[in-house]
């Protein structure tokens, strides 16, 4: 588009013309207000083809879909987690808290066939601290820690931003700890007995 300097005194009719063209512009937008932008995904043909009409979406009721692989809220599929603690170690802001309890027997297999040997009585992710870097999801050996397309999860109380992913109730956790302690006691007793037997 060619640009040219507009003189300060360009004459009466020039001013009138520019005033009218301004009115025409706002009228055009007012007239086009019967059209509305549709919440289309970015790959949709229509996405860039909506130059006219209202652009606002009434957000909680309509929203533009987000990509599947975006960095949004984390989710841990605890059944597949082997409680290896890698995610907690790599996290740059230390927002993952994991406590582990050794299982006394075989717990089972994850969906990719890895053996699970640890319970996680505590598996908390503090979403308020998380910087959504995604490092934890890349180190996870069983791919159980993933990012979901949910990005709107504001809370009134900041305590609710800590997500608990454990599948054990406190009682169950206590039980598992006792079992482990008992097993360790038995083993210690067995060891002591074995030691005593060797001395004789």
């Amino acid at each position: 588009m060619e640009t040219k300097t507009i003189k300060h005194k360009s004459g009466f009719w020039f001013a009138v013309r520019s005033l009218i063209s301004g009115l025409r512009l706002t009228w055009k937008h007012f007239w086009n207000a019967k059209n509305r932008r549709t919440p289309e995904y970015v790959t949709d043909k229509n996405y860039f083809n909506q130059p006219e009409g209202l652009v606002t979406l009434t957000y909680p009721y309509e929203a533009i879909p987000v990509p599947d692989n975006g960095r949004y809220r984390l989710h841990n599929e605890i059944d597949d987690c082997i409680v290896c603690d890698l995610c907690a170690k790599i996290c740059p802001v230390n927002c993952i808290t994991i406590e582990s309890v050794k299982a006394t027997e075989e717990i089972g297999l994850t969906s990719d066939g890895t053996k699970k040997r640890l319970y996680a009585p505590v598996f908390d992710i503090d979403m308020a601290k998380c910087c959504y870097c995604g490092l934890c999801t890349t180190v996870c050996p069983t791919d159980c820690l993933t990012m979901t397309p949910v990005y709107d999860f504001a809370e009134v109380d900041i305590k609710n931003m800590i997500y608990h992913f454990t599948d054990l109730s406190p009682e169950q956790a206590e039980e598992k700890k006792e079992l482990l302690a008992k097993q360790q006691e038995e083993m210690a007793a067995a060891k002591a007995a074995a030691l005593a037997a060797r001395k004789q």
Binding site: T26, N32, G53, T58
Partner: protein, 367 residues
């Protein structure tokens, strides 16, 4: 008393509609949605806004001049509302039909300025004071071109009575006592020999009866934007520099009154423009031979049909002008103070003086 209540209710409902329309129109012109939550399409938004304002605490700043501060909103609203007393809403409904309505209106509207100054001074706030001073300077200046434009219409009509001016601009002219033998000619020129007295419709509107009034209409419209502090003449309440101008310290009920007064002022200036230049409550459709569109769309004076048609035409014309005011607000940027004064004193006032002169000559052609 009944007229008072009726006018107040009518005014309040128009203002509520206008406040809603303002937000929706603004939104649509900026490709937004505007209010959507309260009621269908957000239509209850302005009602709720008023309710919210009524619940709020009435804060009077400690350093304010209490009496002036408290009195100002009442004075401002009373001044604007009193203006509605002489507005004829239908052929036989006018709250107070006095013979010098135009003069009364100009006088009572000027009181508004005193209220603005009281509000600005009483607030003891530099933004409020600046806003009030700008407002007063602007309104006092623009009253001159507006007054001259009104004067030219009054000269053409030879009357200060709004109702008489209204009757002159339609097919019902000869029904008005004192106008029984008056004639309307096309463009007001008797020499053309086309009698439009019974044709009515748009041909007898003032802007057609004397086309020179088209210029005074434009002058009046521009000046009325300035008088009601509307963009592009909104330097008194320039949000971006003065926060809100003279009413920055007001809250709650008093703010609601000021807000109401501002929108009532918009409605009033548009009503006056319609009555003086755009044919008042008269229909725009002319009688063409046997097809007497003008009579069909006027109803019978004194009956319900006359009231409904009259009110309908008056209000629809007013809303067209109000829409134009809104559109102008969302189209043009604000004028600088010196540009504002330049436009008033060096452009509008000389042109208005010329128009008054020509209107006087035109009147000679009409008789």
């Amino acid at each position: 008393m009944l007229a008072f209540v009726l006018t107040l209710v009518l005014l309040l409902s128009i203002v509520i509609v206008l406040a809603y329309a303002e937000r929706k129109v603004a939104a649509f012109m900026q490709d937004r949605l505007g209010p959507t939550e309260a009621g269908p399409y957000g239509s209850l938004q302005s009602v709720l806004d008023v309710l919210k304002l009524l619940q709020k605490e009435d804060i009077v700043p400690a350093a304010a001049d209490k009496n002036l501060f408290k009195l100002a909103p009442i004075l401002i609203f009373a001044a604007v509302f009193a203006g509605f007393a002489v507005i004829p809403f239908t052929p036989d409904l006018v709250p107070a039909g006095i013979g010098i309505g135009v003069f009364y209106l100009l006088a009572i509207i000027s009181l508004d300025v005193v209220g603005l100054l009281m509000a600005g001074w009483g607030s003891n706030n530099k933004y409020a004071m600046l806003g009030a001073m700008r407002s007063v300077a602007q309104i006092v200046s623009y009253e001159i071109p507006a007054g001259l434009a009104i004067l030219s219409a009054v000269m053409i009509c030879q009357s200060l009575d709004f109702q008489e001016i209204s009757y002159q601009q339609g097919a019902l002219m000869n029904r008005f006592p004192g106008l029984e033998f008056e004639m309307n000619w096309l463009f007001g020129i008797e020499a053309l020999g086309i009698n439009t007295t019974t044709i009515g419709g748009i041909t007898t509107w003032n802007i057609f009866r004397a086309p020179i009034l088209l210029i005074s209409f434009i002058i009046y419209f521009i000046a009325s934007l300035a008088e009601s502090n509307r963009a592009p003449f909104d330097i008194p309440e320039a949000e971006s520099e003065l926060v809100a101008g003279f009413h920055v310290e007001y809250s709650g009920f008093r703010f609601a009154i000021l807000f109401l007064a501002e929108y009532s002022m918009m409605v009033l200036v548009c009503l006056v423009a319609v009555i003086l230049f755009l044919g008042s409550w008269n229909t725009p459709l002319p009688n063409i031979g046997p097809v007497s569109l003008a009579y069909w769309t006027t109803g019978t004076v004194g009956e319900l049909s006359g009231i409904l048609w009259g009110g309908f035409w008056l209000l629809s014309k007013t809303f067209v002008l109000l829409f134009l005011q809104l559109q102008i607000r969302w189209t043009y940027p604000r004028l600088r103070v010196d540009q504002l004064m330049h436009l008033c004193w060096k452009v509008l006032t000389p042109i208005a003086l010329g128009v008054v002169l020509i209107a006087g000559i035109w009147r000679l052609l009409m008789i």
